[in-house]
Amino acid sequence: MEFRLSDKSLLPTLVALLLIGSCVSLGIGAMTISWRDVLAGLMEWSWPGLLSVDVPEQYALVLGEIRLPRLLLGLIVGGTLGVCGAVLQGMFRNPLAEPGIIGISSGAAVGASIVLVFGSVLTGVLGAWMGGFFGKIQWLLLPAFASFGAIFATWLVYVLGDRGRSVVMMLLAGIAITALAGATLGMFAYVATDTALRDMTMWQLGSLSGATWTGVLVSGIIFAICGGLLWSRASDLNALLLGESEARHLGVDVVGLKRQIIVLNGIAMGAAVSVSGVIGFVGLVVPHIVRLLRGPDHRFLIPYSALLGGLLLTVADTIARSAFAPAEMPVGIVTALLGAPFFLFLLWQQRRQIF
């Protein structure tokens, strides 16, 4: 059985699936809205009174302020996770490298928890230092800390893994960082108030329910910049697949490349994680599926992982918010439930062709 598709059929298929997935996601939810009303509601929300469509005001609000930002956030976060997973696997030349497994998500979680637990102290100190200006950038606190945590964890894994050469060291470092982060989170949980504790727990389960237009805008811009820059290094990453010395002989600045990847990855992961919490499995599964379908060429792997990551997370989120409606479950549970069996199936089919 051959899964690999030509580029000509894969790209249109992915785009078509993404469009279908997005439409379904907009149409499904706890509130039942007919297809005609979905279109009318979106029109009414984006330009009230342009066409005198008769649609309940609530529909416009649900579509424009809840479902649409949530859909976009799902596409952005899923895309970020897919791209970061693909690039990390390329950089470490290891199919196990995944933001969750090598400790990046835990690093981001520690960063974010600092803000969730010690937020009032931090706000006080920074407010006294920067004065009124701080009030304007206060919402940046959580993304910034999450990014720092993610960058620091990636850097630690990179250095301990002998600058990415030793896979065993890298995985061990990742496990140690995850354990250390777990202990730090436990310590925070101990001193946290009841409310901060629940926020922390919920945040670590991952959910897109906090989607706002600000979050979409910020994470979207960061994703576009970081993703674009990472994509521009696709040929260098391809050269790196041959081995480090071979890449150097081909004229690739290997150290500089790795440094860039770590920083860009950390910023992108931090931004994604800070709006959605920790969502596992997408970063691991998506690049593998793309590799099975299209091969390991990073020029295609990176954008296709973005598309497939967005698609997977959108589908997962649609299920998460409609399966138990009117209640919701955290999307991280769904991505694991969806991703793992599918991944196992693909692994079984393609045992000898993975990397």
């Binding site: 939810g29 609530q58 302020e65 329910s209 009117p326």
Partner: protein
């Protein structure tokens, strides 16, 4: 002829349009008047998030307008089936809006903030009540609820006031207040005690005891601290009653407890878990009475 026909038809349609317009306007005016009068009466579609608040909504007689509750609420067995919209700290916006509510009532910890903002923007009224730490706050919560639900509160307030008065007398009759420890315990993982600012703390004070611990919130206790605290009574939530074998398991897990006054007397008491949710509620008053009788040795 065709042109004439068309004009005639057009005129007919126009006149019809005018008529339908007038009719529509009349309907609209009637509907408007109706909706004005409707808005002056009690909200008909209410969602309640939090057990102690739902309890009050039902006690005020607004059970008919209750259309959904959160997952921390336990409704009476004979109550109609209503949808459960998730946990009160993580309410899903769309799930709530789909119920088409007019009013959402919940405690101060109801959230997340994003959900509440979006609900308010879509015209849902929101009432957040503080967690009652004492009887006076419970009475003021009842007042605020009765105003919003437009139900008379005199009966229930009278009942609550009577219960509070009798509790006050009972507290005075106790003499020296006993030292109480409220615990959550897990085998091999020690004992967590409820400090100030928690619902058990409010319940203990209402029943006439003093909380044996003075820290805020729930914290882990060391074995030795248990001795130092010298609790006269050890309380736990009813959902742990089976696991703790009515308190006997506590003595097995923490042998040092046998040296405390409570351990010597086997003075354990399980408190209805729902009386401990969201501060002092109606169930808490009954539970405080029971506790007080225990303390008094009745």
């Amino acid at each position: 002829m065709t042109r004439l026909n068309r004009r005639a038809f057009a005129r007919i349609f126009q006149t019809q349009n005018i008529h339908t317009q007038i009719i529509r306007q009349c309907i609209a005016i009637v509907a408007l008047l109706f909706s004005c009068s409707a808005s002056a009466t009690a909200p008909e579609r209410v969602i309640s998030a939090g057990h102690s608040i739902t309890e009050l909504v039902l006690a005020l007689g607004s059970g008919d307008s209750l259309i959904a509750v959160d997952s921390s609420t336990r409704l009476p067995a004979d109550f109609k089936k209503v949808p459960v919209v998730g946990y009160y700290r993580q309410l899903p916006v769309e799930g709530l809006l789909a119920q088409n509510p007019q009013l959402l009532i919940g405690g101060e910890h109801m959230g997340p903030p994003n959900t509440l903002t979006l609900l308010e923007n879509s015209g849902v009224k929101i009432l957040q009540l503080p967690e009652a730490e004492n009887g006076a706050q419970l009475l003021s919560n009842i007042d605020r609820l009765s105003a919003v639900l437009e139900k008379p509160a005199a009966d229930i307030k009278q009942r609550v006031a009577a219960q509070l008065a009798s509790l006050k007398q009972a507290r005075a009759a106790l003499g020296k207040p006993p030292r109480i420890l409220f615990v959550r315990a897990q085998q091999g993982r020690g004992v967590k005690a409820a400090g100030t600012g928690t619902s058990p703390d409010s319940l203990i004070r209402l029943a006439g005891g003093v909380n044996a611990v003075e820290f805020a919130g729930y914290k882990q206790l060391s074995d030795e601290a248990l001795l130092e605290l010298r609790p006269d009574w050890i309380l736990f939530s009813s959902d742990q009653a089976a696991q703790l074998k009515g308190g006997a398991a506590l003595l097995e897990w923490q042998p040092l407890l046998k040296l405390t006054p409570a351990g010597k007397q086997s003075a354990f008491f399980s408190v209805d878990g729902y009386a401990l949710l969201g501060g002092i509620g109606l169930a808490s008053l009954d539970e405080a009475k029971k506790l007080n009788k225990k303390f008094a040795g009745q």
